[in-house]
Structure formats: structure tokens, C-alpha cells
């Protein structure tokens, strides 16, 4: 579940070396975009596109305003800027959309299937399917296209990339665009799944997704997938066998343990 947002984090961190704390807010805007346009137009496909579009716009604006001027400075500065942006975005969402929860306007009838004794709903299958497709797509973009190569080059050595004739600004923007689109999709899926949207819906998933990205090895795409899955399982097992009150603690405990024991993450190659 966290995997998609984790992918967004991994992209942005891997390429730009900054922790985009506002990733969770981009996720929230995606969900709102879809919910609102759906209640206005009633067209599901269009609304999903609009939601993703809104995420992308927010993400790219964020890069321009809050990150671009700080490039090359200490990551701490970008971190504070990201935190500021995150506060700004969630407060403006409260201002624009109102503080109340909004349900997802279309209710999905969900069949329950039974696989090997595990109940799985249609919705869960769709979410997993979409996630899987996006991951494969992302993997192809990063590893087998010219833009993907440029992204990796910028991540390794931005100056040298510039000497190759790579437009570094455009590459950063492209990275943010993809990261934001992924978060937007994740936001919409979650809004459908839990049938609700609210201004702070992005905060905790954002942090956990970040943990997932770190857990799997930040900057690594398969790592983000593994991290997301591990986190989900650890959390639910912990909640089931120890105490549900501590559910959220497991995500972060896992994060701390992994960083201290194996800072590279499960699949990480860098650092």
C-alpha cells in the first residue's frame, strides 16, 4: 500500500538528494482533485486524470518554488523548506476544501474472493494490479529510456551531466512530475479504498512511505517495492500479535532498526 508513495520518495531522493516531506501532501491533493471533479462531472476516468494532473501541478510548482532555489545547499535547508511547504499545502487544503472529510462519490461494489483461505476484495486486487503496472512502467522509464539515463546521470554528478548537454532543470522537473503522478495515483486509490479524503490524510502515509523507501534502500526502485511490502506486513503482524495501539510504532521501529543495522536498506546499493 505504501509502495507507490515510497516510489515517489525514492525517485525524488535518489535523483535530487532531498527528502520531500511534502510528498504526502501531493498525495492528498491527488485524492481531492479526483473527488471534487468526480462530484462535479461524474466521469470517473476524467476525474482520475484530473486528480493526477493536480498532483503533478502541485509537485512541479513545489519544485520550482521551494526546492530549485536551494539546489546545492545543505540538505537540511531543503528539508526545512519541504516541511514548510508541507505545512503550507495541508493548511491551504483545509482552506480550499474545508476541514471535513469527504467521501469518495462513487461507491465500488466489491466482491470478495477467496484465495487459499485469504479473503481478497476486488478493490484490493485492482489496487495491487495498478501498483504493479506502475512499478514496471517506472522501472522501464528509469532504466531503458534516454530521460531515465539523464536522471541517473544528474543524480550521480549534476555538473558532468550538464557538460553532456543535459538540461538539469528539466530533468529535476521531470523527476518531480513522475514522483508526483505516482503519489497522485496512490492518493486516489486510497481515497477509493477508505472512501474518504481529508486535509491531513497525507501526513502519516507520507511518513510511512518514506520509511518504506528507506527500509528498502532509498533510491532503489525494487527496494521501494520490497520496503513497502515489508512495512505493511510488519505493521499488521505487529498489530495482530502485540498491540494495535502500537501499530504505527512498528513502521518507525523498523525504520530505525534498518538504518542503524544496515543503512543501505534491504536492496540499497548506494552509500
Amino acid at each position: 500500500m505504501y509502495t507507490l508513495v515510497a516510489l515517489g520518495y525514492t525517485m525524488v531522493y535518489g535523483i535530487l538528494g532531498i527528502i520531500n516531506f511534502a510528498q504526502g501532501e501531493i498525495y492528498m491533493y491527488g485524492a481531492y482533485g479526483a473527488v471534487i471533479s468526480l462530484s462535479l462531472t461524474g466521469d470517473l476516468a476524467l476525474s482520475v486524470l484530473l486528480g493526477i494532473g493536480l498532483s503533478c501541478v502541485v509537485g512541479v510548482l513545489l519544485e520550482r518554488v521551494a526546492f530549485k532555489p536551494l539546489r546545492g545547499l545543505n540538505p537540511l535547508i531543503s528539508l526545512i523548506s519541504a516541511i514548510g511547504a508541507s505545512i503550507f499545502l495541508s493548511s491551504s487544503a483545509r482552506f480550499i476544501f474545508g476541514p471535513d472529510e469527504r467521501p469518495f462519490p462513487v461507491h465500488f461494489e466489491s466482491h470478495i474472493y477467496n484465495f487459499l483461505g485469504i479473503d481478497v476484495s476486488m478493490l484490493q486486487i485492482i489496487i495491487m494490479g495498478v501498483s504493479l503496472i506502475l512499478m514496471i512502467l517506472l522501472y522501464i522509464i528509469v532504466n531503458h529510456t534516454k530521460n531515465g539515463r539523464a536522471m541517473k546521470a544528474v543524480a550521480m554528478d549534476a555538473d558532468a551531466a550538464m557538460l553532456m548537454g543535459i538540461d538539469v532543470d528539466k530533468t529535476y522537473m521531470f523527476t518531480f512530475l513522475i514522483g508526483s503522478a505516482l503519489s497522485g495515483v496512490a492518493g486516489i486509490l486510497m481515497a477509493v479504498y477508505y472512501n474518504t479524503t481529508y486535509p491531513t490524510m497525507g501526513t502519516l502515509p507520507g511518513l510511512k512511505a518514506f520509511s518504506a523507501a528507506v527500509l528498502g534502500g532509498i533510491g532503489s526502485i525494487p527496494g521501494a517495492v520490497v520496503g513497502g511490502l515489508t512495512l505493511g506486513v510488519a505493521e499488521n503482524l505487529g498489530a495482530a500479535y502485540i498491540s494495535s495501539g502500537f501499530k504505527d510504532a512498528f513502521a518507525f521501529l523498523a525504520l530505525v532498526l534498518v538504518l542503524v543495522i544496515r543503512p543501505k536498506g534491504i536492496m540499497g546499493a548506494k552509500r
Partner: protein, 242 residues
Amino acid sequence: MLVVSNLHCYYGRIHALKGISLHVKSGEIVVLIGGNGAGKSTALKAISGIVQAASGTVTFNNNDITHVSPDKIVMAGISHVPEGRRIFPRLTVEDNLLLGAFTRRDSSEIKKDMGKMKELFPVLANRSKQYAGTLSGGEQQMLAIARGLMSRPSLLLLDEPTMGLAPVIAQDIYRQVIYLNKEQGLAILIVEQNARIALGLAERGYIIETGRIMLEGNCRELKQSNEIKRAYLGKDYREVWE
């Protein structure tokens, strides 16, 4: 083809270039000689657009490129092989070469050029699927030059291409550089600390000190200049050299 006139650059608060002027004619090898911190690398960076000039102009084939972005400069035909090689260590040799051709869209020609690079530097052919970070220093330098050539430049900027390499390998690299110049007519501007190698290589040279051009001329004349002998070649230069 390249004309730099009265160029001033700042690195933060440091006035790194205090009005340098130089030019490179097509098909020529020109060296820029100077000690640490003289401003050699900054001059190259200002030409390739990585460092912004405060004043002065850079023109290339009669077009003003002073404030043009680096990618446009690459497209115009200037390729800069940076100091310290700066290859992309966690990409394969092949990916590094492809990145060199980033601004080009003619994929069949790019493929042909990849083949040429592997001919020019045979070590790269055997290692094309290897991570560039696993290459030796000399191989990395060759990769960096090959990568620079992949954009099909008409002017190549080389920043200390033999720094930290064994003399034999340095010779190898310079042999290729001369080949590129003689056989393919590529204009080359080289930055070197080692005046002895540099003056033996090029037709003309500039001596740069603390951001200013101190001397310029034909390499044969420069070699004779007493000042050069004293400052860059050592007192007993004559005995060693001849």
C-alpha cells in the same frame, strides 16, 4: 572559431578570472598553462557555460555564447571533458557513451559513433557492459574523452587529461588526442599544469596566472622564453630537455 575576450568570472567572492582573452582557430591545438588556482579550469567552465561570466564575451563561430545554457553550447559543437574525468560511476561504459550523445537524435549515427569510439579506445570495447566506476584511471580518462566526442564536437575542451596517470598511459592518451586533431581536424583546447608536455603538444599556448593571461604565443617561442623556463620548466631545463 572560439574567441574569448576580456572575460571576468567570480567564484563566490573570489575574482577568479580577471579579464582573460584567448582564441582557438579551427583545426588547432591550443594549451592553457598555469599553476593551481590560476583560473584555468574556470576559463573552460566559463566557455562551456557551467560558470556564468560577470562580463566579457565568448563567441563561437561568430555566435555570442556568453550567456547561453550548457546544453545549447554542447549542441553548438563544444564538448568539455572535465577535470577529474567525472564519468558516471554507476552506469555502464555504454550508458556513459550514450549520455555523451544526449543532445543528438540520430540514433543510427549514434550507434556508428559508438563503434568508432570503441575502435579509437579498444579497452572500452571489452568493457562496454561494465560499470564505469570499475575502470582504471587511464581507462576512465579514455571513457571521458570518448564520451565527450559522442556529441560530435568541433571543439574539444580537455581539462588536465593526464592528471594522476602513469607517464606511459598519459602518452597513450596524448597520442589519441593528436590523432583526433591531425586526422579529424578537431580543434582542441587543453588545460595542463605540466608545461613540458603541453608545450610539446600544441601549436600555440597561453600562460595564465592568478586569473590573467601573462604570456601567449607560439609554443616554440614560449619554450625559449626565460620566464617560462624559470617558472614552469625548472632551472636546469636545458640539460634535461636536450
